[in-house]
């Protein structure tokens, strides 16, 4: 009982304890803010990537694509764990916007919207995604849906000054069509297949797709890329699983039926192209992109883990000082019969209190700070990055109670760790030495 009482009094009476509490609070505050923001950015980014892919992708790295996809999609749609499947043709084209090479993606808008968030990304055809390739100013013109950043420039707030009503904008596409063997399907002066499409809508996926991708109707994209004709080809099939189906579980099932499909199709025309096809979960598929964000997150967590070590060291120093100043008390306690364990637990209780108080203060200050972080930055007119070039427009501020709990528990653990060595030293002090009874 006296241990708790004494630990509390040490905490309240020793000014140096306040410095230890402040160090812990500051550490928890900073780690809480940074981890929340970094985790928010990563989660947000992964969410956007997932939203543009679906759960699983059947894909080939070859620009030639693979055939016999319609039959397989039909088969997939009969599988109980599949919610939807959508074909996609991905290729590159010179487009008459800044004369840049853009990624073109041919899709069937309805099926693609079932697998991805495409229906939510568009602006002028909300609720009418089936007609997204029909320009509102002339429904008979062939439409295309560029990422919003392909045509419009961003303002300083990171927004786009888009018109309320689209005006007619013609975009010319020049693409090199490849036949099933990978050779150019046309030779001579007309090597390129060219077609003009009209701006029918734009999309906003919230990341780099917005600057580099233009959606086209599937058939048109296939014709442009040389994938049309009787043996139509695509480069990807995007799949979304029904709710409750695990990512790995669903992906391995798709792999299984794809394997069987390959067996069935042995000997068909362009079978070789089917052999290059891979089945991946969205995580594996986007590993290169997502891993970068995750690596950054891990590196930042490691950096802040070092801050935790510094906090533990501060607590250790503070405790060494407290133990040195309180050696007489230790002697008194031992003279009335307190044992080593009692002394150890007294100082560990003290460390625990510093940890609890410090992390509580850090969390209590950090919580409103993170909730209103965007408002605070706006109020002080602080712009952390140039929003014209970033897909992050607001600082992520979603608090994850689990993350906060881990930070608090780690801070308390660091305090206990920092207090352990001085407490052990205190517990082992010799009574006669601590009472300074050196008079013989």
């Amino acid at each position: 009982m006296y241990k708790f009482k004494l630990a509390l009094r040490y905490l309240l009476r020793r000014k140096i304890s306040y410095f230890a509490i402040a160090a812990v609070a500051l550490c928890v505050f900073v780690v809480f803010i940074v981890i929340t923001i970094v985790a928010g950015i990563t989660v947000n980014f992964k969410g956007k990537v997932y939203n543009s892919i679906g759960d699983c992708v059947i894909h080939t790295k070859s620009l030639v694509g693979f055939g016999h996809y319609e039959e397989f999609i039909e088969q997939l749609q009969n599988e109980p764990y599949v919610y939807a499947a959508a074909p996609l043709v991905k290729n590159y084209a010179m487009v008459s916007v800044d004369q840049e090479t853009k990624e073109i993606a041919g899709i069937e808008p309805v099926s693609f919207s079932k697998v991805t968030g495409f229906a939510d990304w568009i602006e002028y055809h909300k609720g009418d995604v089936g007609n997204v390739f029909q320009p509102t100013y002339d429904v008979n013109l062939p439409g295309c849906v560029p990422g919003i950043g392909c045509y419009f420039r961003r303002n300083e707030d990171g927004g786009y000054d888009t018109p309320e009503q689209l005006r007619q904008i013609a975009l010319e596409f020049n693409c090199i069509p490849l036949n099933a063997k990978g050779a150019m399907s046309r030779l001579g002066a007309g090597d390129f297949s060219s077609k003009t499409f009209y701006y029918s809508d734009h999309f906003r996926a919230g990341y780099s797709l917005d600057w580099k991708r233009i959606f086209l109707p599937l058939e048109e994209a296939q014709l442009l890329c040389g994938m049309g004709g009787p043996d139509k080809r695509v480069t990807h099939i995007h799949i979304k699983f029904n709710e409750g189906i695990g990512l790995e579980e669903g992906t391995s099932k798709v792999k299984e039926i794809w394997g069987k499909y390959l067996e069935q199709k042995k000997g068909v025309i362009n079978y070789k192209l089917l052999e290059n096809v891979q089945v991946d979960s969205w995580k594996n598929f986007s590993k290169a992109v997502v891993a970068m964000a995750e690596t950054q997150q891990t590196m930042i967590i490691i950096c802040f883990f070092l801050i935790g070590i510094i906090t533990a060291f501060i607590v250790l120093v503070v405790f060494y000082m407290v133990v040195s100043h309180k050696s007489k008390d230790i002697g008194i306690l031992k003279s009335v019969g307190a044992g080593q364990v009692s002394i150890l637990s007294l100082f560990l209780s003290f460390g625990f209190m510093i940890g609890v108080l410090g992390s509580a203060i850090g969390a209590l200050i950090g919580w409103p700070f993170i909730v209103y972080i965007n408002e605070i930055f706006d109020f002080f007119n602080i712009q952390l990055w140039d929003k014209r070039y970033s897909s992050i427009l607001v600082v992520p501020n979603e608090i994850d109670p689990k993350v906060l709990s881990v930070i608090i528990i780690s801070a308390i653990g660091a305090c206990l760790l920092g207090a352990l060595l001085p407490s052990w030293r205190a517990a082992r002090m010799k009574c006669v030495d601590t009472l300074q009874v050196t008079q013989l």
């Binding site: 009982m1 009482k5 009094r9 008194i332 306690l333 003279s335 019969g337 307190a338 006669v432 008079q439």
Partner: protein, 236 residues
């Protein structure tokens, strides 16, 4: 007195301290036995080893060699845990510089031995009885009005009375006082000695270390330590 009344005994106790490169021999085969209910004064010049002997008798320190026994129980053979319990239950210490905990008030200081000897649950059970005893002791020593005060708010004499009350909290068999008046003026010191004598009159065994012959006269039996050995025993 018969040997059955011996409560504390030191036989051939040696103790030395390391000071820099050399060992300083403090006790050189000290022999001493203390009977139950005695008021013993240990006197000696500075460096004669009287405080060291007191600490060894109270199990605050261990001898290099020799036997220290309490009621024929060899304390050298006891584990640290049992010695802690021995100090908590059997011995009460009073120090020259009072050694009260500044963070605790007077009542809490007096309760300290009880709290140190109890588990958290045990303390809940015995708390009210302990408080009653602590308050009773403080009343007895004229400190009833000071229970909420902090040690630094008390005079030297009051602090020493609090220290005596703390030493008596667990009703120890032996009260060991190390220069209890060494830090007090003579009038206040006499007040403390009165308290010790009163305790002795009630049957309490008291062992007091002092360098002052006049103070030692308050004891019923005076032991002189010279050069680490018990040289003379005088009965008054």
């Amino acid at each position: 007195m018969s040997d059955t009344n011996t409560i504390l005994k030191a036989e051939g106790v040696f103790k030395s301290y390391r000071m820099g490169q050399s060992d300083v021999k403090v006790l050189k085969g000290a022999n001493l036995s203390i009977e139950q209910g005695q008021f013993v004064g240990i006197i000696g010049a500075s460096g004669s080893g009287k405080s060291t002997l007191l600490h060894i008798l109270g199990a605050l320190d261990r001898p290099d060699s020799g036997i220290v026994s309490y009621k024929e129980r060899d304390l050298n053979r006891e584990s640290t845990g049992r010695l802690n319990r021995f100090r908590n239950e059997t011995i009460g210490f009073v120090f020259q510089f009072y050694h009260l905990l500044d963070e605790l008030n007077v009542l809490e200081n007096v309760l300290l031995p009880k709290m140190a000897g109890c588990s958290a649950f045990g303390w809940l059970v015995c708390r009210s009885a302990a408080k009653k005893r602590a308050k009773g002791l403080l009343e007895e020593f004229g400190l009833g009005e000071r229970i909420g005060h902090k040690p630094y708010q008390l005079s030297g004499g009051e602090r020493q009375r609090v220290a005596i009350a703390r030493a008596l909290m667990n009703e120890p068999e032996v009260l060991l006082a190390d220069e209890p008046t060494g830090n007090l003026d003579s009038e206040t010191g006499n007040g403390i000695l009165e308290v010790l004598r009163r305790l002795h009159d009630t049957g309490q065994t008291v062992v007091m270390v002092t360098h002052d012959d006049k103070v030692a006269e308050w004891a019923g039996r005076v032991i002189k330590l010279v050069d680490g050995m018990v040289e003379e025993q005088a009965w008054t």
